[in-house]
Amino acid sequence: MSLGDRQAPVDDAVVVRSVLDGDRDAFRILVDREGPAVVRACYRVLGDLTAAEDVAQEAFVTAYRSLGTWRAEGPFGAWLARIAVRLAIRQAGRHRTVAWVSPVAGPQGEVVDPTTTLRADAASDPERLALRGERHRTVRQAVAGLAEPYREVVALRFFGERSLGEIAMLTGRPLGTVKTHLHRGLARLRGHLEELEP
């Protein structure tokens, strides 16, 4: 029985070992499992769903190539998120994309095309949608403008949905240092985000 046929959740390390042993399809488990979080992280950096999926795909391919270097010392998703966020930040530096509307899940949880949402909501409250998009863009640009290592810590914490412990493990820095970096990163952001505060 292939690993992909199992119903129960399979440990990351088992899946990775299986892929390294030649079971390419086992990687699908990781894509299914981590795909949404990776796409979300990329979207939060880039603000464009199509670009986010492209970068997320590139992140998976990069992770696949480097799979042998994953040491299973932490969650696979955290390792992948770091790759994705880095790629997304790099991509954001290349192309300044502007997205005015965030995609929204439909009532059944299905994906709704952002442009459809825009058309649907435009009749009711286009100004609100535009403001929301503008806020998102301001935050993205502020985070992207941070210097390292603050940018990586802030991006992984808020865009990559990673805990500070995971970030410490990923970056090889002490937890106390990561906390300091997060604090200083947020303090630097505050000046840019003050106008957005309620």
Binding site: A37, G68, G77, A187
Partner: protein
Amino acid sequence: MTMRPGSFRPDELVGADVDFEDAEVARVAAAAEVIERSTPSDSLQPTVDFTGRVMAALASEPTPRRAGWLRGAAERLGLGRLVASVGGAWAIFVDASGRPAGVRAAALTYVLVVLLAAASLTGVAALGVGGALQFLSRDASPTPSLLVEPTTPPDLGPVVEPSFSPSPSESVEPDASGGPDDSLEPGETGPSTAPGGSTTGSTASPGASAEGSDDHGGASPSPSDDHGGSGSPSGLPEPSKTPRPSETPH
């Protein structure tokens, strides 16, 4: 499969390397709240065919190797495989597609170390071959036997302890000294300068000289090294006290 950290809480910053004031933490928490409110919701999902797209992109990729070039080098010995591992490491270094900087730096280090080792081994091998050829060519020279005979007193017995006597075979350059005057005790002589000096020729007989040089040349790695023929007799023992090599017991 990890738990997501959820909304930011100020107590996440407890334990930072630096102690921050409460007011400062509160301001930072306000910034975090702005980020979270402005960040698209968690309900965002990739398009339906995203997994298929990724798997299709992977179809052309080779199966990833377990530990990359480093384990390959360790597991598979052999020149061709070593070269292949260096090539792989170089490819990792050159490839900028999202690999961590640490991995690329390690790959570059591996390439440099292997190249350095190869250059060192090549240099040592070249020196060794060159030295061996030079040694052989010196060995073939018959000149030393002509020089020693007149100076060695035939009456001295072979009783002189070899350890205190200079090696007659050493440091005699036929052209310069013409006799055992030039023989030096290894410990007293400076570095020899005449590479063309004969090796065993300074002794009365070639056969004896070989033995003598072995016995007395403790400080020199090889007989040829001491054949400086520096020509300076200072610090040399008197010729009369020099043991007669010809009578060195065989």
